[in-house]
Symmetry: D2
């Protein structure tokens, strides 16, 4: 099953700056070979369900290993059976309605 997710990992108990933990998650996604795009409040990720969620789990594992005692993560998960759609297709279809 193909999935597009939006992932936002929030380490708690590590102070106010969390960018190094987010950067580590970007590394996880790159190592996993998953198409992904960082934005100001999360990261869009596209791929096979199992690959994508294995990467999400690895993000939690790594962020804990970096010293974060607690993590709260928000994920939006989209699947569809009617047609194939990429992250770029979603953006294009909104922009095509902007005329």
């Amino acid at each position: 099953m193909k999935v597009i997710i939006d992932l936002c990992v929030v380490p708690m108990g590590v102070g106010v700056s969390v960018s190094q933990y987010v950067a580590e998650c970007q590394k996880v996604l790159q190592e996993a070979g998953l198409k992904h795009q960082l934005h100001a409040y999360g990261t869009n990720i596209e791929g096979d369900w199992d690959d994508v969620f294995a990467a999400v789990k690895e993000c939690h594992t790594r962020v804990h290993a970096m010293g974060a005692p607690r993590i709260t993560t928000s994920i939006k998960v989209g699947t569809r059976t009617d047609r194939d759609q990429s992250m770029q297709d979603k953006i294009d279809s909104v922009k095509g309605n902007d005329a």
Copy 2:
């Protein structure tokens, strides 16, 4: 890795009432033997990471099988390494601060 999640599955393209799909997801959680608690905007689930996310995937599979061509799901995911905490513990610790 132990996890507490909040799950909200939204079938799209099936009309305005989605309670039968949510009820099917409750069945998935029961069959999986996962501790869970329905609320007005989602379901709290507690268990091992792999068991919990296998159930989330099964929810998508079943809801598509029931005829929903598209699903958008919101998940909050909490893990912690500092101590063990159940869903009930989280509620109790807030209420303990209510005095």
Copy 3:
């Protein structure tokens, strides 16, 4: 416009335990006279759009005033024009499909 929301306020930079901040938000909701129900990963709130979002803003104001330098909050927001529905109605309609 009537709204049902699910609110999860996460203070950052204040250590690993955040229950006192969540308890303060419960107080805000009580003072605002809004119907609300705490669960293990957030709080369901029901009311008029403006009243509910004024309370959400007040939660941010109070949690910052308690010393949290940064807050990240997740909100799910439901509105409908086809019929009136309470938080309890939503739960009942899922349970009615459980038979």
Copy 4:
């Protein structure tokens, strides 16, 4: 109070394609003069709390007016008192950790 949010408006009961509704929300944000950036699973928005949430309410009003009987929206809301930070700053601070 300055805020950065991530907004994802999901109209229900209108069929499987929702891009015209998302496009209308983009128009709302433009009319409001709010800095915003569409991504594949939502839109980042930056501005004063009251202006941003007035726009979110207007999105619900317009999407209902277009015929959607039900809407479920996900919002992430970030505020901080320790320093001023823009959407671009957030992206830059993650990328600065990528070295």
